[in-house]
């Protein structure tokens, strides 16, 4: 049992931390050419080049804004549906679940192309709102899934009890369900933001290039010859989920029954 943490540490360092450290090292140094005998040539040029670009900042704020709204909508849809799937008597529930999962079983590019004409007619194409809506397609099924799993772990009994005791819908939601849904909230935050940040093709189609998110700036440079700038840009992508995660952790601390850091642990 004693070796387990050590083994875990080795695996984590090697496969999860080291790659990112290498990325960081590359971003702070000129492109590497070790076999020719040269070592690390530390410099900040790549960040200078990256952070000076006004487009990067614009795209970053657009991405954060879109990610935030998409996350909120995901939480709303996910919590409602997760609860519904757990508490509402349904015939053929597994089929309902499969149906709700189906949006991520269909190539999202096909959905986006199919929706594009509708979006144009509804005045949603080329707008941030349109991009937010299309970003729901690859994210919401995950959120429903995660919240549903979580509600199932909570169990129907736990959900019916406050109701019997006379709690209102929102009181029950905030005092009982959300605190119990903390792990799910974390997962949904992560997934939603990252998936939203990963969408190049559908953002390009629905946003029409006018909604400039980070992938739209990044993707054309993906093959770029300058490894240092690319590494710096790559790391930039991770900053947004980290910021979001921190924010959500802070919000979670505000939920009732949270173990606040300044209170006694356990």
């Amino acid at each position: 049992m004693n070796q387990r943490p050590r083994l875990f540490l080795v695996i984590t360092l090697l496969f999860f931390l080291l790659p990112v450290l290498i990325l960081a090292a590359q971003s702070f140094s000129a492109p590497w050419r070790f076999p020719s005998g040269s070592g690390l040539d530390w410099e900040l040029g790549s960040y200078e080049q990256l952070l000076q670009s006004p487009m990067l900042w614009k795209a970053t704020f657009t991405s954060i804004w879109i990610g935030f709204i998409v996350l909120m909508l995901n939480v709303v849809i996910g919590v409602f549906t997760g609860k519904a799937l757990t508490t509402v008597p349904l015939k053929g529930r597994p089929w309902v679940e499969a149906l709700l999962l189906s949006p991520i079983l269909i190539p999202v590019l096909a959905i986006a192309m199919g929706l594009h004409i509708f979006m144009i007619r509804a005045g949603l194409a080329d707008t941030v709102l349109g991009v937010i809506i299309i970003h729901l397609v690859p994210t919401v099924p995950y959120s429903i899934k995660i919240f549903h799993n979580s509600y199932q772990q909570i169990g129907r009994a736990m959900l019916e009890q406050p109701h019997i005791l006379g709690s209102g819908f929102f009181r029950q939601l905030f005092t009982i369900e959300l605190p119990l849904l903390k792990p799910a909230l974390r997962s949904v935050t992560f997934l939603t933001i990252v998936i939203s940040l990963s969408q190049y093709a559908i953002t390009a189609i629905i946003g029409g290039g006018r909604v400039l998110t980070l992938p739209l700036v990044f993707f054309p440079f993906l093959e770029s010859a300058d490894a240092s700038v690319m590494s710096a840009f790559s790391l930039w992508f991770a900053v947004i989920p980290v910021v979001m995660y921190t924010l959500v952790e802070a919000v979670i601390l505000l939920l009732p029954y949270s173990r606040l850091p300044w209170r006694n642990k356990r």
């Binding site: 387990r4 943490p5 875990f8 695996i11 984590t12 496969f15 999860f16 790659p19 990112v20 290498i22 990325l23 590359q26 590497w32 070790f34 076999p35 709303v76 849809i77 409602f80 549906t81 609860k83 519904a84 509402v88 008597p89 089929w95 499969a98 999962l101 991520i104 079983l105 269909i106 190539p107 590019l109 096909a110 959905i111 192309m113 199919g114 929706l115 004409i117 509708f118 299309i134 919401v140 429903i144 899934k145 799993n149 109701h163 792990p183 799910a184 997962s187 992560f190 990252v194 990963s198 190049y200 093709a201 093959e223 490894a227 690319m230 590494s231 790559s234 992508f237 991770a238 989920p241």
Partner: protein
Amino acid sequence: MKSFSLKPYLLFLPSVLFMLLPLYGLLTAVLNSFGRHRGWTLDYYRQIFESKRFVMSLAFSLQTALIATLLSILIGLVLTRSFYPILEKITPRVSVWIPMLFPHFVWGYLVILLLSETGVAAQLLTAAGWISDPQHFPVLTRDPHGIGIILTYVWKEVPLVILMLLPVYASIRPEYYALVDTLGGSVWNRITAVELPHLLPVLMETSLIIFSFTLSAYEVPALLGTTFPEMVSVLSYDWFYGSSWQKRPLAFAAMVSISFVLLVLSFIGYGYLNKARWRAVKGNRS
């Protein structure tokens, strides 16, 4: 019990509204694949399935997606099972989720940076004298076997598997294990009697999610795939965005075909789950 009237169904309202989006999108795609604007026809399906390029691409995609899915599930399961008490703590958990911080195409770039023939690994091995020339480093990216694609996906999806499984493991009450132990059960009994019933639905769903994503996503194969064989998503994208618009319905037909494969698979999966769950309910409620 009166309160269980129509009111609870209101909880489904947001998801019903949401579902209109993908269903409308898919419907349009299906209609286009049957040539909505040029007269109804099955010709596009005949064309793609007669094309050697498409059929080989489909086979390659299925193979790549299957390997990536199985490896991700297996590794994720082993890691979660071995380390979930550690993963309960925030630092280890966040460390394992690091790859999830990055979009797929960014992680794909990282794989190239690390493992291409001039990548960091090849350079270090050369500098250390293990191989005489970076050229002797095995071809792991943009290779005809899809190794680079699989590597990227597995690396990215293992944390997802952990993410999906962790709440399940965290929720298994220790009493169950105690019960198994008291009754003289082995570790194997622990897995089959306690964990598997909890895990099965999540495992099934996670596999489906990963399989469909790896089968149909464009960005990673576009970055890490080779000229031949190519993933269906890349081929469809070329048909879609290539300069010749005559091929657009082909792209729709290809994508609808993939969707069909995936929908059939999920029907099978869910049908099986449905049965298993029914059996479990019958067995447990005594």
